[in-house]
Subunit: 494 residues, 2 copies
């Protein structure tokens, strides 16, 4: 860990891993592809959870908890669903271990299950099996449930936070009496995610709908938010699915409508995961380590007392505690690091790597001058701040840092979003610049597949109306030469 | 669900299940032994989590997250641990499903894992494997981590909340430089649990240490809190383990102490689970349904507006909203139920079953009189409360209900805790009265096993010093006739 962080220019992928490890956010575990989320990483996740959970509750959702295990047969009930998930399911076949004198510890053959269980990769099936029992009448609708849970998808290539075999997420699963209501719910949650990304994570996103090939297995429409990382690659940061009546039909969930007729229930599901932490890192951080938006930072301000003599110590620590009290009273998450055995310079570096938005240093001279040394993590500017009105100053500064990070990320995205109308330029831009490309597409999976094959770029989404009105015009797909209804958003992606 | 709750006298076990189902706390799932926690049950768990999490953080703990899966070989590293858990492990053997033309969906034989994984029944092994990498020097200690997680233990006989195959819990895992510090941590967390049980759950508990046969698999000492249910059976509500150096030795976790010598690290672990919800139900609820202590109740006050004419409706709803605002401003969790299509009597019953501590009913006459009808769930007393100073009155009343529930449970426990000095009386009391029995025990596993065999009662714990000073005197074990150091606590238990 004493080694430095690899600069982004040299090896972006290694830079990312270095930041995760040096900032002590997470570590690989002895189980292939599973991660250990360390205290700083988990505190960040807790802050994300709290903000999202408040938004879910404010939009009328309640939390529930459904089982981790799903009977194997459930997976087969929705044809596309099993197609999408069968290849990445952890399968439980036995319920006991046994110490065999020759083989050592083995799965006890006598404990073989009658029906295998899979560890949930997502919970549509088990929830809809139960919803079918709970929903009889229009009076039972809507059902607007969410759960915070772990899920497992057996991924071959994993990367801390971005793609891990087990990850933490929330999954909303709602049931509605009408198609319109379900579509409105899908869009509402898409907007909740976009608001969270922009206002909390300071990460601008494009809202849109996925092409058929990128749709969730079992959905009618998958909406998503797409963000641009600093290496010019896109990252899907959240999805909201309109499931139509697919799961209701697969699990025979009908209800009596107001006209006393039986109808299938309309469904949505939507989720974000610990992957958001990966996005957060890649949008804001730099070669010195993590950069965190203040609204999500577990520690917003760290104060490092500096003193040599015992006499100095007393005055400095007393003043530090007074500052802490004032800042806490103003709602700021501040911590004092007065650990012995570490030099101030070492501590400065430590909190820079960990992305604490504001660092204060307080020495004996500051105490007598009524000042404190202040360093911003985002710009790395240092200044001397007056002790008088410090809390107010910092509240303002935290807001400025939050919006500064957003503005910087937005400026980057705008500079790296290009309208392209021919395929050669498309390829050149991808290789030389990266970023988002707005280009006409004929809407066929064939052309989409060809582009992916030839360039590794995919249709990230068809942006929602009004994103770029210029793009909502007919044209020609430069790859196939066929007519196109509108431009869509392409990029190479995580 | 329209059927009534079975009275406790008729069938306590059925009463319990009826309360859980009628109050919509939880339901069985299609996966044997796994439960679905419904919104009311989950909101209760969230309140418990928040209170406990604050206490953990106030005592210097940080949250982390370790993988769900544990390599099978890890389980074998600590001899007693594998002995204790091998027989109840869900075993993952494959990583894919496959649609076989003849057999249907099966675990793909080509995806068989090189090493089986088990779903964590508890996380000592995987955490200590990693702690061994994180801890080198005394400077790295203590490590005080906790995680909120799901765990799986393959139970044959399950019961909603009390014993389910998958359950939610928190598990603290700490690492220390000295034995004394680890013992102090064990006791500190025992006290945190006792405080939570008493101050939040209004559930009096006895703190003590387990006999060897009831110890956690791999622990040196297991401390516990024991509560008495209304049917006279005991329930272990939380455990805190002093693990000595057992796991450090099993995973080779050594550190350099201040004298530059290598030493094994000292460990603790401690946990409480959704089982607490079962305890909460069984301590306070009655034949009308759930009774909740106000500090944990998701809804503390429900207000039901009563009106027939549209003209009345307007005045009543306006007043109801004013009351809600006032009560919310006083920090009270209040909800108005103005749903149409349900009669007030139906609603009254609904909230009684769901255990909402205070029910308010507001009609047109109340509005003109400046009153509101108030019903307490715990005593089922009704009164007319003045609109003037209502928030203050309710804050006081919620406190009174909270302490009233505690006092009632304590009185019940005291009336049902008996000193017994001969085995015949012991058996008679168990059969006729139940409850806790304080009796001498010679300290041998043989006598303990004989008592369990003959009476189904077990040593619940050896209470901590000062619980009953009268019991801390030598005597004679009435079962074996052998000398005894002190009386210990017996009961039949869940």
């Amino acid at each position: 860990m004493a080694d430095a962080i690899t600069p982004r220019q040299n090896d972006y992928s290694q830079w990312y891993l270095d930041v995760v490890r040096h900032a002590k956010l997470a570590d690989y575990s002895p189980v292939r592809g599973c991660m250990i989320i360390r205290p700083t990483g988990y505190a960040l996740w807790e802050n994300m959870q709290r903000a999202l959970d408040d938004m879910f509750k404010a939009t009328g959702h309640e939390n529930v908890y459904f089982p981790l295990f799903i009977p194997q047969s459930f997976m087969a009930r929705e044809a596309e669903h099993v197609e999408g998930f069968a290849k990445e399911c952890a399968v439980i076949t036995h319920s006991r271990l046994k110490l065999d004198p020759e083989l050592g510890l083995i799965a006890d053959p006598d404990s073989k299950l009658d029906e295998n269980l899979v560890v949930r990769p997502t919970s549509e099936t088990i929830m809809w099996d139960t919803y079918a029992k709970w929903i009889q009448s229009w009076r039972d609708l809507p059902l607007k449930y969410n759960q915070w849970a772990n899920v497992v998808r057996w991924e071959m290539r994993t990367r801390l936070f971005l793609r891990t075999m087990e990850f933490l997420w929330q999954e909303g699963h709602t049931a509605h009496a009408t198609r319109d209501e379900a579509v409105a719910e899908t869009l509402q949650m898409l907007n909740v995610y976009a608001t969270f990304a922009e206002e909390w994570m300071a990460m601008p996103v494009i809202k849109g709908v996925k092409s058929a090939s990128e749709r969730f297995a079992g959905a009618v429409d998958t909406y998503c938010i797409e963000a641009l990382m600093q290496d010019g690659k896109a990252l899907q940061a959240g999805t909201s699915h309109f499931l139509g009546q697919n799961f209701a039909k697969a699990f025979d969930c009908q209800f009596q409508n107001r006209d006393n007729e039986l109808e299938y229930v309309w469904a949505t599901s939507w989720g974000v995961s610990t992957r958001l932490i990966g996005a957060l890192i890649m949008v804001h951080s730099d070669d010195q380590g993590l950069v965190l938006p203040p609204r999500l930072a577990p520690t917003q301000v760290v104060l490092i007392p500096i003193h040599r003599s015992e006499e100095d110590r007393k005055a400095v620590v007393e003043e530090a505690q007074a500052i802490r009290e004032e800042l806490q009273a103003a709602g700021i998450r501040i911590r004092i690091d007065d650990r012995e055995g570490y030099r101030p310079g070492w501590k400065f570096n430590e909190y820079e790597v960990q992305g604490v938005p504001i660092r204060l240093a307080l020495g004996p001279r500051d105490v007598s001058n009524g000042t404190v040394e202040l360093a911003r993590r985002d710009t790395r500017e240092k200044s001397s701040a007056s002790r008088e009105g410090l809390a107010e100053h910092i509240v303002t500064l935290l807001d400025a840092i939050q919006s500064g990070l957003y503005d910087r990320a937005l400026a980057y995205r705008e500079a790296n979003t290009r309208v392209v109308d021919d395929y050669d330029t498309f390829k050149r831009v991808l290789d030389e610049e990266g970023g988002f490309i707005r280009m006409h597409w004929d809407g066929t999976p064939e052309t989409e597949a060809r582009i992916k094959e030839e360039t590794k770029a995919t249709v990230r989404c068809i942006p929602v109306e009004g994103t770029w009105p210029d793009d909502e015009v007919p044209g020609v797909d430069p790859v196939s030469g066929a007519p196109s209804e509108r431009r869509v958003l392409f990029a190479r992606a995580y």
